[in-house]
């Protein structure tokens, strides 16, 4: 009994101590919260400096107005991060007084950044600048006047002339120029493993249209053990962009543009035809298409276990990184059959949010992002081409140089649905849902109705 009582008393005391301890902790926590936010910023800043080379940040004691430039972006994967750091290095050389706060929101193709940025913009606390697709992806921001017009401050005549018209148009979805495109990826590529195609007795350059792709897939399936098309269906965006490629290849840019403007009903037969062909492609995907990511599929192409891949030219970065896998000899690429003169463009850009915490530094950064120097540093590492047409191509490898030539010679540079430039985010999301279901059931009627209702 007495023993029991004692433990009881002990536990009561310790409980009281717990409460006291918790109270003390809470006090400390509150104090921590109310502490200066620069504490956190300082830590992040250190991280950025570690990632980049440490030369940039010289003492900024005197210049109060320069401020800190907070950049939110999603370039955190290997090559992307290197490219981004190269960009920052260039910026630091020109503006050593600006302190950069690097604030990545990792997640492929911006899956996490949207949430971060939207919440901050809604709270009236945007970063200095952030990475975003231009075009329709900007409309939620421009509708509410959340982006500063930079037509005068950044887009001078020299810069306007250096950009192609379609790209300039994408930077002004609401009329004002609000974004600075920094790189362009091509989406309508058909990559292939040269050896596998030789074995299958298929010549990729002979394929004329999307229907021809199907024949080639059949030939690969018959003549080799390789997977004909290293497509992934785990997430719907790859199928959505493949649909875009097929539609572009079958119908050309004009019909494609009226499609993305929402005129689906008058194109019903064309859309159904594209879906039909897409459902036939599906026989030639890997059996685990639904369990792999696009780069895992691409690995199989590198290993000679797959023949074709439709993907943006970020896929080429993986080939460059692979040992003994050479452009021209081991892998090559043709524009997706039927879309030769088209440069289907995936673009990243930076913008100038209103309520900007560092207007001056942001303007300096956007100005820099539009220069030859910035795009020459950033793009070869990123594996994309510069949107400016006057960037020297010396540093770009043979593949990217060819892409640049194609770009300069291209007739049209239509925007993409799967990468935000062609349709507003809500429509994009509904189309992705439609293609998620299409991946599941390959039901053309349901898919067509969902596509029609998405707009």
């Amino acid at each position: 009994m007495s023993h029991d009582k004692r433990t009881d008393a002990d536990s009561r005391i310790s409980r009281r101590r717990y409460v006291a301890g918790a109270g003390a902790l809470a006090t400390v926590a509150v104090a921590g919260c109310s502490d200066d936010p620069e504490g956190d910023a300082g830590i992040e800043d250190d991280g950025a400096d570690d990632g980049a080379t440490d030369d940039g940040t010289t003492d900024d004691g005197g210049e109060a107005e320069a401020g800190e430039l907070e950049i939110v972006h999603w370039w955190t994967a290997g090559g992307e991060e290197d490219a981004y750091n190269a960009l920052l290095d260039g910026f630091r050389e020109e503006h050593p007084d600006v302190e950069i706060v690097d604030n990545p929101a990792p997640g492929g193709a911006g899956s996490a950044i949207d949430t971060v940025i939207q919440n901050r913009v809604l709270d009236g606390n945007p970063p200095s600048t952030f990475q975003i697709w231009p075009g329709q992806a900007l409309t939620p921001y421009t509708d509410e006047g959340l982006l500063e017009d930079i037509g005068d401050s950044v887009w001078d005549d020299e810069m306007r002339e250096a950009y192609l018209d379609d790209i300039v148009d994408l930077s002004q979805p609401g009329g004002d120029l609000v974004a600075v495109p920094i790189n362009i990826h091509r989406l309508n590529n058909l990559f292939y493993n040269v050896e596998v195609l030789e074995e299958a007795d298929v010549d990729a350059t002979d394929i004329d249209d999307p229907q021809g792709v199907l024949d080639a897939l059949e030939a690969v399936d018959e003549n080799t053990d390789a997977v004909p098309m290293a497509h992934q269906t785990q997430a719907p965006w790859s199928t959505l962009q493949l649909f875009e490629a097929v539609f572009l290849g079958q119908r050309g840019t004009d019909d494609y543009l009226s499609f993305v403007e929402g005129d689906v009903e008058s194109l019903e037969d064309e859309v159904r035809a594209a879906l039909e062909l897409l459902s036939e492609y599906a026989d030639y995907y890997p059996e685990d298409a639904g369990s792999i990511s696009w780069d895992q599929g691409n690995d199989r192409l590198i290993e000679g276990e797959a023949a074709f891949l439709h993907q943006g030219d970020w896929a080429a970065g993986q080939y460059e990184a692979a040992d003994g896998f050479e452009f021209g000899e081991d892998w090559d690429m043709v524009p997706f059959p039927g879309s030769d003169g088209i440069y289907h463009s995936v673009i990243d850009s930076f913008v100038f949010p209103t309520n900007n915490p560092s207007p001056e530094a942001t303007e300096q950064f956007l100005n820099y992002a539009g220069t030859v120097d910035a795009q020459e540093r950033f793009n070869p590492i990123k594996g994309s081409i510069p949107p400016r047409t006057d960037v020297p191509t010396d540093d770009f490898g043979p593949f990217l140089s060819r892409q640049i030539d194609d770009f300069d010679a291209s007739d049209t540079q239509p925007p993409t649905i799967a990468h935000g430039t062609a349709v507003v985010p809500a429509v994009q999301s509904e189309l992705e849902e439609a293609f998620a279901n299409f991946n599941d059931n390959l039901d053309i009627d349901t898919a067509y109705e969902a596509i029609r209702d998405a707009f």
């Binding site: 899956s111 939207q118 509410e144 719907p236 059996e287 369990s291 985010p425 992705e432 599941d440």
Partner: protein
Amino acid sequence: MFDRIRRSLSKRRGADDGSHRERGDNAGDAPSDGLRADGGTAAEPDSASLATRLRRSQFLESLPFWGPPGFLVLLFVYGAIGWNFVISLTGWEGLGQPNYSELSTEAYTTLLTDASFIAAFRNTIVLLLVFTVLSLIVGLVLAILVDRQIRFENTFRTIYLLPMSLSFVVTAIFWSWMYNPRIGLINESIRGVVGVIDSAVFWTTVELGFLTQAWLDDPRFKLAAIIFALMWQFSGYCMVVYLAGLRAIPSAQYEAARIDGASAVRVYRRVIIPQLGASTMSAAVVLMVFALKAFDFLFVLFGVNPGSSADILAVMMYRVAFDRLQWAYGSAVAMVLFVMALSVIGPYLYLQYRRGEL
């Protein structure tokens, strides 16, 4: 919540009142005061008795203790839920601010005709029921097995419980490897077993290749595959709850039943399992709530678009709100989810309340 506080207070009051009165008597206070405060016979409240009453009011005395946390919970939990409901009525879209002047239930009527909502709702219900029932059954079986004074009981208990401690993110990635149709463990073992059967029974004519499936691709198996993975993770938890329930049953009952000649199956079916109602109840509620929150698992596997065969309300809510910026519509989905959670928790809390366990 308030009921709970009040009742716990009234208990204390009973205890405290005695001491108050004692003190009052000892100090030789005016007897009328004591009478009024305790007996409530006062006709008109004069200022002195009001002050005394205030001073002695248990409500005020306890206020500093439950007031601040109660206020914070009200504001941040119930306030947020209320605000969410209001937002669901506003039709708020995009990156502007919501307009509270025009409220309508349009979001809810749209829900009823939205095919993806219907699919998500159906999947959520299926997930909720099938996952809960299966986990309870597996957990019960494990608990009964572990309870039979086996060797290494603690080891087994740990092994079964361990998956519960993993985050959904880990288990999702882990199961996506398990389910990989080409190199995944599940199909590999099926192939192995089929291979053995084929070689042993050489005259077999049955093609068993259909047993290997693209588990996470095929709309027929997607949800089942998810439920199985979740069951793997949570049946260990059920086992622990049931084990506690089993340990609480006196061993005399086992002996008595055995003396009466009941078989082991009969003992469990007639004597033991009927006594596990409380364990089942509490485990089921936890499981159901987890089923409603299976967002992480699906999000890691499929992103925001699991397809209509595996979509659940939690994922849909995220997709609508953050992918499409349709905040009001997303809030409406969230309210449906909230009502579902409430209809799981509500009856449970009510039962506990009736039993006087709250």
